[in-house]
C-alpha cells in the first residue's frame, strides 16, 4: 500500500511546516484513510449520476414528439446538475483524502479535514498512550485489511465516530490501512519513550 502508508518522509519539506514539528522530530509514518472507506460515498455519487440519465431516457420514450422543444432546458439542467455533482464529489474526496495521520517519534498527529477550508489538528504524545487496540468488522474491512485504530490516552481524546469512541480518553481514527501494524508501531514507540524516561 505505497500511497496509504508512507515511511521515512522528509520532515523538512515545506508541506509539513503547519505541523510545527520539534527541531529533531522525525516523521516515521504518514497514513491516509483506506480508499475502500470512500467506496460508499463514491457509489452514492455514481447512483446520483445515473439517475437523471434514466429519467431523460424514460421521458424520451413517453414524450417522444414533445421532448425536442425542451432540449435546451434539459441540457442546461443536466449540465448544471453534473457540475454540482462533480464539485461536491471533489469536496467529499478532499474531506476523505486530506484526513491524515502523522506518526512521529514523539507524537501522533491527527489532521482532520472538515469541509471547505476547515481542518483540525489534534495531537497525542506517545508518553500519554495507555493502551492501543484495533477494530475490523465486516467483509470489506477484513478483506482489504483496514479498520479503526483506538488509542486509550491519559488525556483528552478525539474521535471520528463520536457515538462509538467519542468518550474522553480515547483517540480513535476510522478506516486506517493495516491498523494492527500501526497499533504495534505506536506500542513500540511508547515503550521506547517510557524506557528513555526511566
Amino acid at each position: 500500500m505505497p500511497h496509504l502508508i508512507d515511511e521515512d518522509v522528509d520532515a523538512n519539506d515545506q508541506a509539513f511546516l503547519y505541523l510545527n514539528l520539534h527541531p529533531d522530530e522525525k516523521i516515521l509514518f504518514v497514513v491516509r484513510h483506506h480508499w475502500a472507506g470512500f467506496l460508499g460515498t463514491f457509489g452514492l455519487f455514481v447512483a446520483m449520476g445515473i439517475f437523471p440519465i434514466l429519467i431523460v431516457y424514460v421521458a424520451n420514450l413517453v414524450l417522444k414528439d414533445q421532448i425536442g422543444q425542451y432540449l435546451g432546458i434539459i441540457v442546461a439542467g443536466l449540465s448544471g446538475y453534473y457540475l454540482f455533482l462533480l464539485t461536491f464529489l471533489f469536496g467529499a474526496w478532499i474531506d476523505y483524502y486530506y484526513d491524515i495521520i502523522f506518526i512521529t517519534g514523539e507524537r501522533l498527529l491527527n489532521v482532520n479535514q472538515k469541509g471547505l477550508l476547515s481542518r483540525e489538528v489534534s495531537e497525542l504524545s506517545m508518553q500519554q498512550v495507555q493502551d492501543v487496540s484495533t477494530q475490523m468488522d465486516g467483509f470489506l474491512r477484513s478483506y482489504f485489511n483496514y479498520g479503526t485504530l483506538i488509542v486509550e490516552t491519559a488525556g483528552h481524546g478525539t474521535s471520528d465516530v463520536e457515538s462509538a469512541h467519542g468518550l474522553q480518553g480515547y483517540f480513535s481514527v476510522d478506516d486506517l490501512p493495516d491498523p494492527n501494524r500501526l497499533a504495534r508501531v505506536i506500542s513500540e514507540l511508547h515503550r521506547k519513550i517510557a524506557h528513555e524516561d526511566e
Partner: protein
C-alpha cells in the same frame, strides 16, 4: 423573452458559484497537498470533467 433573460442570469449566477467553490477547493489542494500524493492527478481529472461538461453543454445549447 424576459423569462429567458432571467433564466440566463440565474444559470450564470449558478456557474459563478460553482466556479468560486472550485477555486476554494483548488486553493485547499495547493496549500495542503503533500509531496508525491495523488492530489494533482485527481485535480486534473476533475478539471477535465468540468471543462468537458461546459464545452459539450455549450455546443448543445448553441445548436438548440
Amino acid at each position: 423573452m424576459f423569462g429567458n433573460q432571467i433564466a440566463l442570469i440565474v444559470y450564470a449566477a449558478f456557474l459563478l458559484l460553482i466556479l468560486v467553490i472550485n477555486l476554494l477547493y483548488f486553493f485547499q489542494v495547493f496549500k495542503y497537498r503533500l509531496p508525491g500524493d495523488a492530489s494533482i492527478t485527481v485535480l486534473i481529472i476533475h478539471m477535465s470533467l468540468i471543462v468537458a461538461i461546459l464545452i459539450f453543454s455549450g455546443i448543445y445549447l448553441n445548436a438548440a
